[in-house]
Structure formats: C-alpha cells, structure tokens
C-alpha cells in the first residue's frame, strides 16, 4: 500500500517536472526540472523492483549527462528565451500525434496487448541485468558500443580543425 502511494506521488512529481520543463523560460531551470524528472523516474524504477536500473539512472542521467547539460548552459551563459507563437508544423503534426499517443497509452492501460506485473516483481538485481546484457544480448550490446564509439569519433572529427594552422599543431 505504502509503495503504491509512493509510486503515485513520484509519478506525479515526474509529470509535474516534465510540464515545468516546458513552461520554464530559463534553460537552467529547464535542465533542473529534467533532473527532477530523472530522479523521480529512478524512484519509480526502484519501487518496481529494478534497483540496478534505478541506480544507473541516477548515476548516468542525473549525475553525468544532466551535469554536462548544466555545464554547457553555464559555459554559453544562455539567457532567458523568447516566447514565440509556435510553429504551424508543430500544430499540424503535434496535435494529431499527441491524440494518437494518448489513445495508444489508453489502449495499453485498459489491458489490450500488455501484461501487468505486481509492484516489485520485475527482476532487477545486478546479476540478472548482467546476464541479459553479457549473455543473452551480447551482440546487440557490442554493436551499440561500437555505435557509441563511432559517435565519439565523429564528435572529435567535427571539433578539430585540420585545415587551420592551430588544428595542424594539435592533431
């Protein structure tokens, strides 16, 4: 019972953070709302029994990626953003997309094509996750890591200037 209440509370915090992210006009407030979303998502995972995923969610997303976001915002010294009336494309595709999404979620929640699991029953121990990652899904895992490596190399190539004098000295 307590867990259900906690689950609902943190679910509400998560949604509120997401809405706040859109409503805030300053980038740093937006980034911090996203941190709140990540944190409450981690708590949801924990309540569902996926403790390893919860810890990784905090360490990787809230603790590393969002710190980098905040870092970049601080570095660029980004100011308050201007309000626009929104784009016509967003109106054209966004509203039907959102409707479709809500219908889909409603369909799933009403029990069509989805199994439900009691709170805390999902396997989430580090050993289970490790077995899945390094045994059952080893090939996809390795392929993903190569994909990430390619992305890093791409970033390095884009950041370096091989044509300029400075770039020649560095490379």
């Amino acid at each position: 019972m307590l867990h259900l209440i906690l689950f609902l509370v943190f679910g509400a915090v998560c949604v509120a953070g997401a809405v706040n992210l859109l409503a805030q006009r300053h980038p740093i407030n937006g980034a911090l709302s996203l941190v709140a979303v990540m944190g409450s998502l981690a708590v949801e995972y924990l309540l569902l029994g996926a403790e390893f995923v919860a810890a990784v969610q905090v360490i990787v997303y809230a603790g590393a990626i969002m710190v980098l976001f905040v870092f970049v915002i601080m570095l660029l010294n980004a100011g308050v953003e201007e309000r626009t009336k929104g784009s016509r494309v967003a109106l054209l595709f966004g509203v039907p997309g959102m409707l479709l999404g809500s219908v889909l979620i409603g369909w799933v929640l009403l029990g069509h094509g989805a199994e439900t699991v009691p709170v805390g029953a999902l396997p989430g121990a580090p050993k289970v996750i490790a077995w899945l990652l390094f045994h059952d899904f080893l090939l996809p895992f390795e392929v993903t890591s190569i994909l990430v490596l390619i992305a890093i190399m791409g970033a390095v190539v884009l950041a370096s200037h091989p044509d300029t004098e400075q770039g020649k000295k560095e490379s």
């Binding site: 924990l46 810890a55 360490i59 710190v67 915002i73 805390g120 580090p126």
Partner: protein, 360 residues
C-alpha cells in the same frame, strides 16, 4: 516490497514493523549526530594538524587544546549577518548550499559501520539500511552533489564564482570515471554490490599473517591509488582544489556566500571527505575487521572502533597531503585524470577480470 525495505526486514525476521521504524529512527538520528560532530571536529583536526606541520599551534584559545573551537565557529556562523548580494539569481542561490549539504549527508544512510548487535530479541545491523546496491547508491548520491557546487557558481552571477563552478563540475565529471572504474575490481573480487558483503569477503588472512583486505589481496593496491587520487579530486581538496584556488578565484564557487550558507558548503566538503574515507575503508581496508576480544559489549563495539580508526587515518592522510603538496595547474589536473588515471584504471580492471576469470 521495494528493495530498500525488503532487504532490511528479511535479515531481521524478529523485528516487526513498529520496532523496525523505531530502531531506524534512532539509528538515523544517531548517525547524523555523529556525522555532524565528526564534520565539526575534522575541521578542528585539520587546523590543528596543519598548524603543527607549519610550526604553529592552531586553535588553542577556546577550551583545552582548542577543543571547543568548532562550537564557537558554529555559533559565529549562526549569528553572522546573512548577506545576499543584489545581483544573484535568488532561488538557486539559496538552494545550492542546501543541495550540496543534503547530498553530502545522505550517503551515510547506506554505510555500514560495524557488525550486528543483539539487544534482547532484536538483531540490529549497525547500518541505517542495508541495500544490496549500496555502493551504487553512494556513487549516485555523490554524483548529484556536484549540482550544489555548479549551481552556486552559476547563480552567484560573478566571474570568480562562475569559473569556480565550471572548474568544479568539469573536474568532478572527469575524475568520477576513474573513481568508478577503480571500484569495479573490488566488486568483482567480492561478487556483490552490498557494502556489508564486500566487507565480509575481506575476512581472514592469507599466507598466515597478511589480512585479506582488498588492498593486499588480489592486487588492488593500484585501484586504491587510483581511488585515493580521484577521491581527492572529487572532494576538491589540495592538490586538486582548483575550484576554490584562492590565488586565482578568490574563493571559487562560494565567493558570494556568507554566514550559514557558506558553512553549509564547508560542511558538505567535510562530510564528503568522511564518506570517501568510509568507502575507502570498507572497500580496500577491510571495513571493521580487526582483533576482537573481551566482554560482549566490547565485542560489539570494537569493530566500530576499528572502522572509525581507519576513517581517522584516512582523514589524517588527507590533511597531511594538504600540508605537504602544492596545487596543480588546471591543464595538469585534466591531463593527469584523462591520460594517466583513466588508462591505469582500465588496465587494472582488465587484469583483475582476467585473474578472477582464471581463478573461477
């Protein structure tokens, strides 16, 4: 049931929910009290030890050996005028020290500081809560602590603070990778993420007399070295205290803070030092293992004493290093982290994995 509760309850089946809550509250309050007192007296210790290293006395006026100095400092911080400069971004300026201190104090929740004790039918572990991913929780909580520093720097709206905040976040992200990787070897040797299991895996001796601590056994002294260096950088201490380098940045991210808000950053730094020392003792130095003898009460308390002794030793080395080494330059700091510590940590990880795989 969530992992947090399930774990603690299963290991004390004699406890019912009420007793569990009462014991938990007592443990929480006690740990917090001890931690805050330890923070205050670490400051005293630092001033005293550095003082003696520099051929002066350190605090001597308040109480015998200046022992009441932390109390006097606390009173001073409370009664000082709490200035808020007009150019700051107020919500985050106020929240930043709170974020720093809250995350610094939270990680004590999963640190075990001794074995079990028995009171009547109650079987109480000396730990606020035993989570089976304890180490990950500590890593997660400490990685969130960087927000306090970064936001303090940004919201102060002054160039020194901003530079200090930027340096702190860059440094903490960089060294967190080496720090995390240095711990993986220990995890592989213990086969668990629970701090209690990791300590239990270090029980006993090998070759007749050497304790089976991870720093000796399994060749984790390299990992210990990496951990030590990264821990100094993570807690922004000399020789890696670039975020608050007085010669360049006045006081770095807390330049614009005064009174209790400044004290909160100070508390966060020292609480982080204690957490880092506790993790080092648990993972590399055998936790609370040590000679245990005498009547039952002594048997229950000696492990705690050994554990505290290790933390004290680690803090002393911290202060010793501060009294000895000069500050690095910023590019040296980054080069050391990325080009030396990180490859070393990966090499250590590979070799440890190989050894573990061959042995099993």
């Amino acid at each position: 049931m969530p992992a947090l509760l399930r774990n603690t309850l299963f290991r004390n089946q004699a406890l019912n929910i009420t007793a569990f809550i009462i014991v938990s509250v007592i443990k929480t309050v006690l740990s917090l009290f001890v931690l805050l007192t330890a923070v205050a007296y670490t400051v005293w210790l630092e001033r005293k030890v550095v003082g003696h290293m520099q051929n002066r006395w350190g605090p001597t006026r308040v109480g015998p050996f200046g022992l009441l100095q932390p109390l006097a400092d606390g009173v001073k911080f409370l009664f000082k005028e709490d200035l808020t400069p007009p150019h700051v971004y107020k919500p985050l300026y106020i929240a930043a020290p709170m974020i720093a201190v809250v995350f610094a104090l939270t990680s004590i929740a999963v640190v075990p500081f001794g074995n079990w004790i028995k009171i009547g039918t109650l079987h109480i572990p000396l730990q606020i809560t035993d989570v089976n991913i304890g180490l990950l929780i500590i890593l997660g909580v400490t990685s969130l602590g960087v927000y306090g520093v970064a936001l303090a720097g940004w919201s102060s709206n002054s160039k020194y603070s901003l530079l200090g905040g930027l340096r702190a976040s860059a440094q903490m992200i960089s060294y967190e990778i080496s720090l995390g990787l240095s711990l993986v070897g220990v995890l592989m040797l213990a086969g668990s993420l629970s701090l209690r299991d990791i300590v239990d895996a270090q029980r006993g001796v090998f070759w007749g007399f050497i304790p089976r601590w991870n720093i000796f056994y399994g060749g984790q002294f390299i990992a210990f070295f990496i951990y030590l260096m990264s821990a100094y950088a993570e807690t922004n201490r000399i020789p890696f205290d670039l975020p608050e380098a007085e010669t360049e940045l006045v006081a770095g991210y807390h330049t614009e803070y005064s009174a209790m808000k400044f004290a909160m950053f100070f508390m966060a730094e020292y609480a982080n030092m204690i957490t880092v020392a506790a993790v080092a003792s648990l993972l590399f130095l055998g936790g609370w293992h040590g000679p245990v003898f005498g009547p039952p009460i002594l048997r229950a308390l000696l492990p705690v004493f050994w554990f505290v002794l290790r933390i004290f030793g680690f803090l002393f080395v911290y202060i010793w290093v501060r009294g000895t080494l000069p500050r690095f330059r910023y590019d040296q700091l980054m080069a050391f982290g990325w080009k030396f510590l990180l490859p070393l940590a990966i090499a250590n990880l590979l070799i440890t994995a190989l050894v573990v795989a061959i042995r099993s």
